[in-house]
């Protein structure tokens, strides 16, 4: 099996999905001859041409709407939005139409589309290029929100997303695009949506994270094991919506402690939803207050300060030590 980075794994999944299903289309700005600004669609246009790989005009809301029309007609459009800061222009189309087309027509029309977009900071990009909007999308009924944290995960989850009958926001952690490397099996196997992935089992504390923060969370867990003999369980949420709360709650019932890590701002971040569900269903198992290690309620800083904004392994480890020391 070849070692692939995350962007190559995305490319491989797109190739597989397009080969398997002639209704799968790729569209977006620069996705054709240029292969996407991150090269996620590299080579697809050469393989399939203009009829299945569509370079679009620069119109994020419009091409989201076009994808809805295509999906209602039985295609499975995979739309690339170059950066998640530009996906805000798509929210009206996503919220008012994509997410509710099935409901509004009682299943007469459906919207099996995937909106792919890079997410998060850590690549020293210009402003508006490092946003983490997952909670906004997760708030919308009728949508599914998926964020992989590894190349193999990206491959399997993207295949599942493309095959899913409902609209999906698929957020790809930008800083893992080239930094994460995995052996990726191109076996066409999807990873089921709506299930958390337990990456490390542990007895003392449950760490929950997703996307680009999973790596730092695992690093924190490893440091805690070595330096402090704290045995942390690490859960990658993978699908924020629908949330597999059972896996998180079962874990917290065993460990009694929960630390949620995300890059997005604290207030109304998706960590709040996880904390609320745990507080509701595992309150009596909790031995310490739930900790959230997150970005700040500020604008995502310009890149010179982004490393201070984004949770780092040490900040995560400190929160874990605090929760373990609580009595």
């Amino acid at each position: 099996m070849p070692d692939l980075n995350l962007v190559q794994a995305i490319n491989l999944a797109l190739r597989r999905a397009m080969a398997d299903d002639p209704t799968v289309l790729v569209l977006g700005e620069d996705v054709g001859i240029n292969g996407g600004v991150f090269r996620a669609t590299d080579g697809l246009w050469k393989l399939y041409g203009d009829s299945r790989v569509l370079d679009t005009p620069l119109a994020e809301a419009g091409i989201t709407g076009v994808s809805i029309g295509l999906a209602a007609q039985g295609f499975r459009p995979v739309l690339e939005i170059q950066f998640s800061g530009f996906a805000y222009a798509c929210i009206d189309q996503i919220l008012n139409h994509a997410s509710r087309l099935r409901k509004r027509t009682m299943g007469r029309l459906t919207c099996p589309m995937v909106l792919r977009s890079p997410t998060g900071g850590g690549i020293h990009a210009i402003e508006h290029h490092s946003e983490s909007p997952e909670a906004m999308f997760a708030h919308i009924p009728g949508l599914k929100v998926v964020i992989p944290s590894s190349p193999q995960g990206a491959y399997g989850l993207l295949l599942a997303a493309i095959r899913d009958p409902d609209p999906i926001i698929f957020l790809e952690p930008t800083r893992l695009y080239r930094s994460a490397k995995d052996e990726v099996a191109d076996d066409g196997a999807s990873i089921p949506l709506g299930r958390c992935i337990v990456l490390r089992t542990g007895r003392d504390v449950t760490l929950v994270s997703w996307g680009g923060m999973v790596k730092d969370t695992l690093e924190a867990a490893n440091r805690l094991a070595t330096d402090h003999r704290i045995d942390a369980e690490v859960i990658d949420v993978a699908t924020l919506k629908p949330l597999d709360s059972a896996t998180v709650i079962d874990s917290v019932k065993r460990t009694g402690r929960l630390v949620v890590v995300h890059e997005a701002p604290l207030t109304c971040g998706f960590g709040a939803e996880i904390a609320a569900r745990v507080a509701h269903q595992a309150l009596t198992s909790l031995l310490a207050p739930i900790e959230r290690v997150t970005g700040c309620d500020t604008m995502m800083p310009y890149p010179r300060l982004e490393h201070l904004y984004m949770p780092q392994a040490e900040r995560i480890a400190e929160a874990v030590r605090r929760t373990v020391a609580y009595s």
Binding site: L25, S51, T56, P57, A59, A61, G62, I63, T64, G65, V66, S67, I68, G69, L70, A71, A72, Q73, G74, F75, P77, D92, Q93, N96, H97, R102, K103, R104, T105, M106, G107, R108, L109, T110, P141, G142, K144, D164, P165, D166, G194, P242, L243, D244, S245, A246
Partner: protein, 350 residues
């Protein structure tokens, strides 16, 4: 731009060459019936709303020729993406009176159309359906199908980015779509003069490289003929176009609106002289293809159809609470099933 295309003058006299279909009296009476049915429905819908038995309703009074003319030009295999005021087009295409009443009465079953299964439901966020029409049209092109999408929106929608983006996208892709601007001169209280500095709305197509033209929207013959040409062009692969149909909103914006706050009765009554049903009736009378007896019989039959549909709507049972959850996803996720079960058992306990 040429002056708006028109076949019948406001007094119902032919002032231009008749298109082929209009030489067939049966075709004209079909259009006439459809407009009268639309208005009968409209009157009933307002009466139901005023008596607390229908939700807020957007009247199509005075605009029947746009709706019916557009739909009459379409093939059933084309796809309609309407705004929320095109009851006439929906009825022509096979949405039932009862479905319309269910929708406006606040019941999702009104959008489950048993007739035109691929047609989109009403678009409420103004103009946001324009890019969907490009997507539908692109699907036809990609599958090499000789079909077209028709997207109807109002004058206000032409100020929106969605419409500008859709026009541009349609132009680039030569998508088989026809955009219809139902220019009823008012976007709630905003007249067209406050909407745009452009002398016409049709010309907004030109910037996207697609043809735009105006038609007298109170002349159902002209509307149908214009749309037929635009649709043939689209289906033949020659690309999109935009038609601005000039009509007038004789009613309030919706039953929640009071138009007397922003326009005078004199303004409105001027436009009654140009309304589309009277115009075609005058023409048919002059041809001796219509008379008082036929008119009375038609009104009676439309009234009976509408009353039957209203009775069925008023008799329809509410959906159960569980229906709120159904169709949110193809398969309800576990946490939503829990919410559904919780809601159902809570409500049962009340």
């Amino acid at each position: 731009m040429d002056s708006p295309y028109r076949v019948l003058g406001p007094d119902g006299r032919a002032i231009g060459a008749l298109p082929t279909f209009a030489k067939d009296v049966d075709e004209l009476t079909k259009l006439y019936r459809a407009m009268v049915l639309t208005r009968t429905f409209d009157t009933k819908a307002i009466a139901l709303q005023r008596t607390g038995r229908l939700g807020t309703y957007a009247s199509s009074l005075g605009q029947e020729a746009v709706s019916v003319g557009v739909a009459a030009a379409m093939q059933l295999s084309d796809v309609l993406l309407p705004s929320f005021r095109e009851h006439g087009a929906q009825l022509w295409r096979g949405v039932t009176l009862e479905e319309l009443l269910l929708y406006w009465g606040g019941d999702e079953r009104g959008n489950a159309f048993t007739g035109p299964r691929e047609d989109f439901p009403n678009c409420v966020p103004v103009g946001s359906h324009a890019p969907h029409a490009v997507g539908v049209a692109l699907a036809f092109r990609l599958r090499n199908e000789a079909r077209a999408a028709v997207c109807i929106f109002g004058d206000g929608a032409t100020s929106k980015g969605d419409v500008a983006e859709a026009l541009n996208l349609a132009g680039v892709w030569k998508a088989p779509v026809v955009f219809v601007v139902n220019n009823n001169r008012w976007a709630i209280s905003i007249p067209v003069a406050k909407q745009t500095a452009a002398p016409t709305l049709a010309q907004k197509a030109f910037a996207a490289g697609i043809p735009g033209s105006q038609v007298d929207g109170n002349d159902v013959i002209a509307v149908r003929a214009t749309l037929e040409r635009a649709l043939e062009r689209a289906r033949a692969g020659a690309g999109p176009s935009m038609i601005e149909a000039l009509t007038y909103r004789l009613s309030d914006h919706t039953t929640a609106d009071d138009a007397s706050r922003y326009r005078s009765d004199e303004d409105v009554s001027k436009h009654w002289a140009e309304e589309p049903i009277l115009r075609l009736r005058s023409y048919l009378f002059a041809l001796r293809a219509w008379d008082k007896e036929r008119e009375e019989a038609l009104l009676l039959s439309c009234g009976q159809d509408v009353e039957r549909a209203a009775a069925a709507y008023l008799d329809s049972e509410l959906q159960p609470a569980a229906a709120m959850f159904e169709h949110t996803y193809a398969e309800l996720p576990t946490d939503l099933v829990e919410q559904q079960t919780g809601a159902v058992s809570y409500l049962r306990g009340l």
